[in-house]
């Protein structure tokens, strides 16, 4: 049995043991900005260094060089700050964040920005499947393509994709907006409860209960505002898709609501 105070072996996302999981303290800090090279660091070391800078050093602007597509980088950041990943992230990058503005100059793997609460993530390259799964707030901007099931189970926030999106985009979307400037695959908005999906390109097929929506000025305002904020140029013409509200029984009250009415 390990003695009290003895260091326990921990594991990173690749299953490698990291008995020495202290922050490496290698960042160069100057005037509130920090930079460090992640090439030879493990996932855990990178995240520990990031946290040390943001939470202990009070740095609000961090550049991480050579992230090398490692998994689970930049997760669980719960403070207002700027983070720039100069390169690509692997799976689960920038998940569970609340507040930061993150710029990824490369691509992100599957499940980036999962369960994001607020903040901004801008990805210059492509993104894998399940981007912004269960997003609750904030903006995710992908300048390349995204894979399948973008914003699956989304509960808020906005996802803007300049390229194409794969199948089942907006699957079970509950709230929030998805903007796709390119084409989308089969099953757009399948089983969505609510929320809005805008598509400028071709829609291969609509999912169950996803129907064309009526365009109004709030749609114009939303699209124009987001394109202006993120300097995405002139927005193309979009089609709007919403939930037909036939799949689920929306007229029935929840048991708790029924009690209140009764």
């Amino acid at each position: 049995m390990a003695a009290v105070g003895e260091r326990r072996i921990t594991y990173d996302a690749r299953g490698l043991a990291e008995p020495d999981a202290d922050a490496p303290r290698i960042a160069e800090v100057s005037e509130g900005r920090a930079t460090f090279d992640a090439r030879d660091l493990t996932t855990r070391q990178i995240n520990l260094e990031l946290r040390r800078l943001l939470y202990e050093e009070g740095v609000t602007d961090v550049t991480v060089q050579n992230p090398g597509a490692k998994h689970s980088l930049g997760v669980g950041i719960l403070t207002r700050c700027r983070i720039r990943f100069a390169g690509s992230l692997g799976y689960f990058g920038c998940g569970l964040i609340d507040g930061p503005e993150i710029h990824v100059t490369g691509r992100v793997g599957w499940s980036a920005c999962e369960n994001m609460m607020s903040g901004v993530v801008v990805v210059d390259g492509n993104a894998g499947s399940l981007t912004a799964a269960a997003i609750r707030g904030g903006d995710v901007v992908v300048k390349g393509q995204v894979g399948a099931r973008t914003a699956i189970d989304g509960k808020g926030g906005s996802v803007i994709v300049l390229g194409n999106a794969g199948s089942m985009t907006g699957f079970m979307l509950q709230r929030g907006r998805i903007v796709v400037c390119g084409d989308v695959g089969n099953g757009l908005g399948d089983s969505m409860y609510d929320g809005t999906i805008y598509v400028a390109g071709k829609v291969r097929s609509l999912g169950i209960d996803c129907v064309p929506g009526e365009w109004d000025e709030t749609d114009d305002e939303f699209i124009a505002r987001k394109f202006r904020i993120y300097e995405l140029g002139e927005p193309p013409a979009f089609q709007k898709f919403v939930c037909g509200k036939k799949l689920y029984n929306y007229d029935n009250l929840e048991p708790s609501e029924r009690k209140l009415v009764l």
Binding site: G15, Y91, G144, A148, G185
Partner: protein
């Protein structure tokens, strides 16, 4: 979960064994049970055939008769090869139970040869062809590469697999890649599950094909082989598989001069792809591609129902 990888050099032979080891080792977390390679060596142009086979595996009980049995079965393999008219060149014991033989076969068919070898107790032909060599064993990529000396393997293209066993046992038979018996130089690695496995297995067995394992992934190799036997190209056979194989899958198939990838209609299993003038590399995770390309690169995910094939 499993991890798959593929690499094809368009211009020349490279250290394909070392590269594939790096890719697979970086995805060790996706499957710690076994690691497998299908490596395509530089063509020797002399028509020589390479056969890799095993006579036991790491799980085989080491009883008192184990050594004697192994030697007896190995003698039987050599005798049968000679009996079938094969002119042997090299016979190498790669490990305690895995062998590599090169030979010429002036007459006779490779299917008959494979059947005769596998008729020997415990013998399993892993691959048979002019350039394909399948190596698979229990453990991670570095331990398998070290065991079989793969760092020095020169070749043009390769696929690999790290396995997390879900549908069948942890043994060499359940490890990928699968050779498309009885077709030379065709192999497959797969990440996913096939739900109409038994239906296809029965159908293919009725057509005379045999299966080495209980693993659903082997269906894909044999399925493609049968299609190609009927005249279909690799690409056409892979496209047909999208409609005829049920389940979730991303698989990579290779022949002696091509490498292809197919994703099912749900795109439920990942694949990241990098393409340059001299190299195509693909893997379940980008981190595997980064293991051999040490610079910032643009990668993308193929979409659902997509089939991509590259020729050398």
């Amino acid at each position: 979960m499993c991890g798959i990888a593929g690499i094809i050099y368009r211009d020349d032979s490279r250290d394909i064994g070392r590269d594939m080891t790096r890719m697979l080792q970086s995805m060790k977390h996706r499957g710690p049970d076994s690691t497998g390679y299908a490596l395509y060596g530089a063509s020797n142009g002399d028509g020589r055939i390479v056969m890799r086979y095993t006579l036991a595996d790491a799980n085989t009980p080491r009883d008192f008769d184990f050594e004697e049995r192994l030697q007896r079965h190995q003698r039987q393999v050599i005798d049968r090869l000679r009996g079938l008219g094969a002119r042997l060149h090299d016979v190498e014991a790669e490990t305690e139970y895995a062998y590599r033989v090169t030979f010429d076969l002036p007459n006779g068919t490779l299917k008959d040869l494979a059947d005769r070898i596998e008729d020997i107790p415990d013998a399993e032909v892993l691959s048979l062809g002019h350039s394909l060599e399948i190596v698979k064993d229990l453990g991670d990529a570095e331990s398998v590469a070290d065991q079989y000396g793969l760092d020095d393997f020169q070749g043009t293209h390769a696929i690999g697999h790290v396995r997390m066993a879900t549908e069948s046992d942890v043994d060499i038979s359940g490890a990928h890649p699968y050779w498309a018996y009885p077709f030379t130089d065709v192999a497959v690695v797969h990440n996913g599950q096939l739900t109409n496995y038994f239906q296809w297995k029965r159908r293919l067995e009725r057509s005379g094909h045999r299966f080495q394992s209980e693993c659903d992934s082997e269906i894909i190799a044999v399925y493609l082989a049968e299609k190609m036997e009927g005249g279909a190209s690799l690409e056409d056979a892979m496209r047909d598989s999208l409609d005829e194989l049920d389940g979730v899958f991303t698989y990579i198939a290779v022949t002696d001069d091509a490498l292809g990838v197919a994703k099912d209609e749900m795109a439920a299993k990942p694949l990241v792809l990098y393409e340059s003038d001299d190299l195509v590399a693909l893997a379940s995770e980008e981190i595997a591609i980064r293991a051999i390309v040490d610079r910032e690169i643009d990668t993308y995910d193929p979409y659902e129902s997509e089939v991509l094939v590259w020729q050398r």
